[in-house]
C-alpha cells in the first residue's frame, strides 16, 4: 500500500469510527428499550392470558410441610415463651409473646384453655402498661377471635393513640378494624379498611380478606382471581398454602363445582400433610361422592384424633342422614359436651358453632336461643343463616324473612341465603316468591337444590 493510499484512506476511517461511536449509545438505548418492551409485553401477556390455576401444580416453599411438625413447633414456642416470661416477669412484650404462642396452639388444637390463659395474660399486661403502650393488637386479635367486638375496638383505639406505629402494625390494625366491620355486617366499611390495609402492606392475610369479602358478596369471580393470585406466589409456607387452597375449595363449593373443590382439597392435603381441616374436607368429599362408609370412617378417625366438636358434628350429621340414629346421637352428645365446655370459657366465641350443632343434630329451640345471642352481638350472614333457619323451624317464617332482608341489605349474597329465603317463603305459602328465590340460588350455585349439598359441612355457605 502506498503512502498516498494511506493518506487517502485515513480520514475516511476516522470519520467511520466517530460515526459508530456517535450511534453506539443510541443503538444500546434502542436495544434496552426493545428488551424492556419485550419483557413488559411478555408480562402483560402472561397476566392477561393467565387461566385458572391448576391445583395439581401447587408447590409449597419453606417451612414445616406437615401438621405434626407445626404442632411440635408450637409446643416448643409455648415452652420457650413460658421460660422467657418466667425469667423476666412483668415484661409485657414477653407476656404478649406467650399469649400469641398460646393462641397459635389453640388454633392447632382447638383447646380453649390456651385461649383463656392468653386472655388473662393480655389483660394483666395491658392493665400494668401505661396507655397507649402494651399488647394492643394481640388483644384486639384475641377479642375478635372470641367475638368480643367492643373490647377489640377499645384495644384498637388505644393502638391509634400510639405516637409512631410502624407500617406493618398500621396495616394489621386496619385489617382488624375491617374484621370488626365484617362481623357487624358492615361490608362496605370492611372493604374500605381492607383496601387501606392493602395499601400500607399487602400481606397474604389482607389479600385473603379481600377475596373472602368478594365471595360473601356473591362476586366469586373476583374472589377466585384474588385467591389464585395469592396461591400462585412462589415459595409460600405449606400451612399458608393449604389454608388458601381450602378457601379456594370453599368458593368451588359455593359455585357447585364439587370436582374443583375435591382437587383443591387434595392440593391442600398434599402440600401440608396431616392438616385436620383438610382431612375433614376430604372426608366430606367422600360423602358427596357417595362413599358414605369411607366418609364415616375418616370422620371417626379424625374425631378421635382431634377431639374437635365440629368434626363430631359433621360425623353425627352424616350418620343422621345415613339413618344411623344411635351412632349419630352418641357423637352428637360428645360434640355437645365439647361445645358446652368451650362455651363455659368463651360463650360469645362458641355461640354460632353451638347453634349450628343444635340445628343439625340437637334441638331447633335451643339453636334459636343461641343464634339470637350471636346475632345480637354480630349481625352478620353466617349467624343470620342459623337464626333464620331456627326461626323457620320454630314456625316464625316472617321473622326469618326480616332477618334475611337485613342480610341482603348488608350486601351478603349466596345460594344458601336464597335457598333459606325460599324455605321461609314456602312456609308462608308464597309459591311465586319461593320459586324466584330458588331461581336466584340456582343461578349462583346450580347444585343448590341437589340433596348431596346437605353433606357439605365444612366451607358451606
Amino acid at each position: 500500500m502506498s503512502q498516498g493510499a494511506l493518506a487517502a484512506t485515513a480520514p475516511y476511517e476516522r470519520s467511520s469510527t466517530s460515526g459508530w461511536l456517535r450511534w453506539a449509545p443510541l443503538a444500546v438505548l434502542a436495544a434496552l428499550a426493545a428488551i424492556a418492551l419485550g419483557a413488559g409485553l411478555d408480562r402483560w401477556r402472561g397476566a392477561s392470558s393467565r387461566g385458572p390455576l391448576d391445583p395439581a401444580l401447587l408447590h409449597a416453599g419453606y417451612g414445616a410441610s406437615n401438621f405434626a411438625a407445626v404442632r411440635e413447633r408450637s409446643e416448643q414456642v409455648v415452652y420457650s415463651a413460658r421460660q422467657s416470661v418466667a425469667r423476666y416477669p412483668g415484661e409485657w412484650l414477653r407476656e404478649e409473646g406467650l399469649a400469641r404462642a398460646l393462641m397459635g396452639r389453640w388454633r392447632l388444637t382447638g383447646n380453649y384453655a390456651d385461649l383463656a390463659e392468653a386472655d388473662r395474660l393480655l389483660d394483666t399486661a395491658l392493665a400494668r402498661t401505661p396507655d397507649p403502650a402494651g399488647p394492643v393488637l394481640t388483644r384486639a386479635l384475641l377479642s375478635i377471635d372470641v367475638h368480643r367486638l367492643e373490647e377489640a375496638e377499645r384495644a384498637l383505639a388505644r393502638f391509634r393513640r400510639s405516637v409512631v406505629p410502624d407500617d406493618g402494625d398500621r396495616a394489621d390494625a386496619e385489617a382488624l378494624t375491617g374484621d370488626i366491620a365484617m362481623q357487624r355486617g358492615e361490608l362496605d366499611e370492611a372493604a374500605r379498611h381492607f383496601a387501606r390495609a392493602a395499601q400500607i402492606a399487602g400481606t397474604p392475610g389482607i389479600g385473603l380478606r379481600g377475596a373472602l369479602l368478594a365471595s360473601r358478596r356473591g362476586d366469586n369471580l373476583s374472589a377466585k382471581r384474588a385467591l389464585e393470585a395469592l396461591l400462585a406466589k412462589p415459595r409460600q409456607p405449606p400451612a399458608l398454602l393449604a389454608e388458601l387452597a381450602l378457601q379456594r375449595a370453599n368458593i368451588a363449593y359455593a359455585e357447585g363445582d364439587w370436582d374443583g373443590a375435591t382437587s383443591w382439597v387434595a392440593a391442600a392435603r398434599r402440600v401440608f400433610k396431616g392438616y385436620w381441616l383438610a382431612d375433614a374436607y376430604a372426608a366430606q368429599n367422600e360423602a358427596i361422592a357417595g362413599h358414605s362408609s369411607a366418609a364415616i370412617a375418616k370422620y371417626e378417625e379424625l374425631a378421635r384424633r382431634t377431639s374437635r366438636p365440629e368434626v363430631m358434628d359433621a360425623l353425627a350429621h352424616l350418620l343422621r342422614l345415613q339413618g344411623q340414629p344411635i351412632e349419630s346421637k352418641a357423637w352428637a352428645a360428645r360434640a355437645a359436651a365439647g361445645w358446652r365446655a368451650n362455651a363455659a370459657l368463651f360463650p360469645e366465641a362458641v355461640a354460632q358453632h353451638y347453634a349450628e350443632h343444635e340445628l343439625a343434630v340437637g334441638s331447633a329451640a335451643r339453636a334459636l336461643t343461641l343464634a339470637q345471642v350471636d346475632v345480637a352481638g354480630r349481625p352478620q350472614w353466617p349467624g343470620i343463616a342459623l337464626l333464620g333457619r331456627a326461626l323457620v323451624l320454630e314456625g316464625r317464617p316472617r321473622e326469618a324473612l326480616a332477618q334475611i332482608a337485613l342480610a341482603e341489605r348488608q350486601g351478603w349474597r349466596s345460594a344458601g341465603l336464597f335457598m333459606l329465603k325460599a324455605d321461609a317463603q314456602t312456609a308462608l305459602g308464597d309459591q311465586a316468591g319461593a320459586d324466584a328465590s330458588r331461581a336466584r340460588a340456582l343461578a349462583i350455585n346450580p347444585r343448590a337444590a341437589d340433596p348431596r349439598i346437605r353433606l357439605i359441612w365444612f366451607g358451606h355457605d
Binding site: G205, L208, L277, S328, S363, L393, E394
Partner: protein
C-alpha cells in the same frame, strides 16, 4: 428478634382467622301433598327413611309399625272441633335421589255435617322427636278449584307450627263441574300425544282411498260427516274407559298405557300416509279412545267419595276434553276442506304425518325404556307453536275463501 417473631406470628394468626364459617346445615324434610275431593281429603306423604329412623331409632321396614306411627302423629278437626276420621292406606319404602323415602297415603274423612274443604290439619311425624325436621304441605289436586296435577303451596309443619288451618272455600256442584271442565281442557291441551293422534286421524278425512292410496277428494258434506264420526267415536271410547275406571276403580300401570298411546299416534300417522284401515277410522278412533281414556283415568282417580260427585266430575272432565277437541276441529276445518283440493295437500299431509310418526317413535322408545329422550323433549317444545301456526293458516285460508266467494257473488250480481 422478639419483634420479628411477633410480626410473623401475627401474620399467621390473621390468616387462619377466617376459615370454616358456621352455617345452617340442612336435613331432608317430609312432603305432604293433599288432594281435595268431594267428601274426602287424601294425602300423599313422603318421609325420608333416615329421618324417621333418627326420630324413632327404628329401621322403618315394618309397615304396620309405620302405619301405627303415622296414625299417632296426625289428626284433623272440623271447624266445630269434631275430629275427622284418619286412615292410613298403602305404605312402603321407595328409593329417591336423596335416599329412601317412606311413601304413604293417608285419607281424612270429615264427620257428617261440617264442610269437607275446611279443616285444621295436625302433623308432627318426626318433628315431635326431632324438632329440626319440617314437612312441606301443598295441595296437589282440588277439582273444585281446577288444580289438577300442579302444586298449590299451603305452608309447612314445624315444631313451632304443628297445625295448619286449611280453607279451600265453599264448592258446590257447579264449582266441581267447572273445575273438572277446566281440568279436562287443560289436560288435553297439555297432552300433546292425544292431540297429535286426533290430528293425524283427521288428515285423511277429506280424502277417499283407492288402490291402497289416498287419491280422490271427498265432497265437503261427506268430509264433515266423516269428521263427526271420528271425533264422536274417540269421545265414546275414552268416555267408556273413564266411566269404567271411575265406577270400578280400574287402574293399569302408567307406562304400558303411555306406550300404547304413543303406538296409537304412530298407527294414525302411518294411516295418514297410506290407508291402513280406510272407512274404518271411527272404529280405530273408538279402540284407541279406550286406551287414551285409561290415561285420563289416572287424573280422575281422585274425583271424590260420593257417586254423585264422581258423576259430575267425570261429566265436567269429559266436557272439557270435548270442548277443546271440537274447537280444534272447527279451527282446522277450513284447512282440511280447502287444502284437500290443492295440489300441495299431498306433500303437506305426508310431511305432517311423517312428523307425527317420528314424534310417536321418540315417545314410544322413551316410554318403553323409561329413559328420557331429547328427541321427544324437542317435539314437546315444537308442538305448541306448530299447532298455533296450523290454526292460524287454517283461519287465514277460511277468511280468504270467504272473501273470494263474496267477490264472486258480487261479480255475478253486478253482471246480472
Amino acid at each position: 428478634m422478639i419483634e420479628l417473631a411477633r410480626r410473623a406470628v401475627l401474620a399467621l394468626l390473621l390468616l387462619v382467622l377466617l376459615s370454616a364459617p358456621a352455617t345452617a346445615h340442612l336435613t331432608p324434610n317430609s312432603e305432604i301433598r293433599l288432594r281435595f275431593e268431594p267428601g274426602v281429603v287424601r294425602a300423599d306423604v313422603l318421609i325420608p327413611l333416615a329421618e324417621y329412623a333418627y326420630a324413632t331409632n327404628r329401621d322403618g321396614r315394618d309397615s304396620r309399625e309405620l302405619s301405627s306411627y303415622l296414625r299417632d302423629h296426625t289428626h284433623a278437626t272440623a271447624p266445630d272441633g269434631r275430629p275427622w276420621t284418619v286412615a292410613v292406606g298403602d305404605i312402603h319404602v321407595e328409593d329417591a335421589p336423596g335416599g329412601p323415602d317412606i311413601h304413604a297415603t293417608v285419607t281424612y274423612t270429615p264427620p257428617r255435617g261440617p264442610p269437607d274443604r275446611r279443616l285444621t290439619l295436625a302433623w308432627d311425624a318426626v318433628i315431635r322427636e326431632a324438632d329440626s325436621h319440617f314437612a312441606l304441605v301443598s295441595v296437589e289436586g282440588d277439582l273444585a278449584r281446577g288444580v289438577g296435577e300442579a302444586n298449590d303451596l299451603v305452608g309447612s309443619f314445624t315444631s313451632g307450627q304443628p297445625t295448619l288451618a286449611i280453607d279451600r272455600g265453599a264448592a258446590g256442584h257447579d264449582a266441581l263441574l267447572s273445575g273438572a271442565l277446566w281440568l279436562g281442557a287443560r289436560h288435553i291441551l297439555e297432552g300433546h300425544d292425544h292431540l297429535l293422534f286426533l290430528l293425524a286421524l283427521l288428515l285423511p278425512a277429506p280424502l277417499v282411498a283407492r288402490a291402497g292410496r289416498w287419491s280422490d277428494v271427498r265432497p265437503a258434506r261427506s268430509t264433515l260427516h266423516n269428521l263427526a264420526w271420528v271425533v264422536s267415536a274417540f269421545t265414546l271410547g275414552h268416555s267408556a274407559t273413564l266411566i269404567a275406571a271411575a265406577a270400578f276403580g280400574a287402574h293399569l300401570p302408567t307406562r304400558p298405557v303411555e306406550a300404547a298411546i304413543a303406538l296409537s299416534v304412530l298407527v294414525s300417522a302411518v294411516h295418514a300416509m297410506r290407508p291402513l284401515f280406510p272407512g274404518r277410522e271411527p272404529w280405530i278412533a273408538f279402540g284407541f279412545g279406550l286406551i287414551h281414556g285409561l290415561a285420563f283415568a289416572t287424573v280422575i282417580a281422585g274425583f271424590g267419595a260420593s257417586v254423585a260427585a264422581r258423576a259430575i266430575a267425570i261429566l265436567g272432565f269429559n266436557l272439557g276434553i270435548e270442548a277443546v277437541q271440537l274447537t280444534l276441529v272447527v279451527l282446522l276445518l277450513p284447512a282440511l276442506l280447502l287444502g284437500a283440493r290443492q295440489s300441495w295437500y299431498h306433500s303437506a299431509r305426508l310431511g305432517f304425518a311423517g312428523f307425527a310418526a317420528v314424534a310417536a317413535l321418540a315417545w314410544l322408545s322413551e316410554r318403553i325404556s323409561g329413559v328420557p329422550n331429547p328427541v321427544a323433549a324437542g317435539f314437546a317444545a315444537v308442538l305448541p307453536p306448530l299447532g298455533l301456526a296450523l290454526v292460524a293458516v287454517s283461519l287465514l285460508a277460511g277468511v280468504a275463501w270467504l272473501l273470494r266467494n263474496r267477490l264472486m257473488v258480487a261479480a255475478v250480481t253486478n253482471r246480472a
